[in-house]
């Protein structure tokens, strides 16, 4: 029998297949960005005199080895911590804080600038409990800053921070930065960790 030439396969659709693959990978690839709680460690300094802080300006949070929470010498559930911390920070006991909405209880903190949260944990404390407490305390600060920012600028603090990091945000970033700074000064994050 005579040998017949094999018919040529049409390669035109190959491009479509390759494009399909390309688009599939483009769509499914998620370059995930990590997120988490940013903290700053205190630098090591030798022989620094600890500042004298009034007892009423310290909000002690103690997390023991069984992940139980002791706040201001009372046992507390994690879900109540945010509220308690907010009340402590926003108390404004000495009346110098015009923007505080707290109860002005003379037994609690003087003003947000003086209020310090002290967190102590034990070696046996689990990491998840520690993160949960850290998260709630940061949330307390963020809540207060949000309320303050809402009152001053009509948008929340978290939103403003997001705008600052957004490259496409059209507004004036220098002013935004100054606004954020102002709020950060009004509610400074004073979270101290006891070294063990």
């Amino acid at each position: 029998m005579a040998k017949r030439a094999a018919p040529e396969v049409n390669a035109g659709s190959m491009a479509d297949i390759a494009f399909l693959l390309l688009i599939f990978f483009l769509v499914t690839t998620t370059i995930e960005t990590d997120s988490g709680l940013n903290r700053k460690l205190p630098p090591i300094e030798d022989n620094v005199e600890p500042p004298i802080i009034k007892q009423k300006n310290i909000f002690t949070v103690l997390l023991n080895g069984k992940d139980q929470l002791l706040v201001e010498d009372e046992i507390m559930e994690l879900k109540d911590l945010r509220q308690a911390a907010t009340e402590f920070l926003d108390n404004g006991g000495d009346g110098t804080c015009g923007y505080c909405n707290g109860k002005k209880d003379p037994e609690s903190s003087d003003n947000p600038d003086k209020a310090v949260i002290s967190l102590k944990n034990e070696r046996e404390t689990s990491y998840k409990a520690y993160i949960a407490v850290q998260n709630e305390l940061v949330a307390a600060y963020n809540d207060l800053r949000n309320i303050r920012a809402q009152g001053l600028y009509g948008k929340s603090f978290v939103e403003m921070e997001a705008n600052l990091n957004d490259v496409n945000w059209p507004g004036d970033k220098t002013k935004l930065k100054a606004d954020l700074e102002k709020i950060k000064i009004e509610y400074p994050q004073k979270l101290s960790e006891v070294q063990n």
Binding site: A18, S35, L37
Partner: protein, 158 residues
């Protein structure tokens, strides 16, 4: 008047599309090669805890990762105590200083103050080890840290 000859089949010759796949494959390979998805091979369990007050950790080249957790099933001969992992191997608390120094040396000098240390720690780890890590970081003056978490409610942690 000249008489025009009618063209035979006045269509354009078809452009060969046979090389189109090559072009597209070239694109595909370029993206496959250029996309960096380097992740350390974890030898530990790394189940991150949940938190909702998170900030994004962008600029990946400015992040140093420290992992900690129990050795995973294949590495049980290292025990079941929480261990630190740096790069691709188990490490000791004392190795952190050298690790930070090496990471710093590999970055441009002007970027060093912006380096962040991301702690990717298993949620069942205990704080003793974390405290030790933090103390080591303070010694080498790597003060910016980030507790890497998953986004979610803290109440889901248990």
């Amino acid at each position: 008047m000249a008489k025009f000859k009618k063209k035979q089949g006045g269509e354009m010759p078809a452009i060969s599309t046979a090389s189109l796949p090559d072009i597209v494959f070239m694109l595909l390979f370029f993206f496959m090669v250029a996309t960096v998805m380097r992740q350390n091979t974890l030898k530990i369990e790394n189940n991150l805890p949940f938190a909702d007050q998170v900030e994004k950790l962008d600029k990946k080249d400015l992040v140093m990762y420290i992992y900690a957790g129990k050795p995973s099933a294949n590495y049980r001969n290292y025990g079941t105590e929480t261990r630190i992992q740096l790069n691709d191997d188990f490490a000791d608390v004392n190795d952190i200083a050298a690790f930070i120094a090496a990471e710093r040396a590999s970055k441009r000098e002007e970027l060093i103050p912006f380096l962040t240390t991301a702690l990717k720690v298993d949620k069942d780890a205990n704080m003793g080890l974390i405290g030790d890590i933090k103390q080591e970081l303070r010694k080498v003056n790597a003060l910016k840290i980030n507790y890497t978490t998953k986004k979610g409610s803290v109440m889901d942690n248990n």
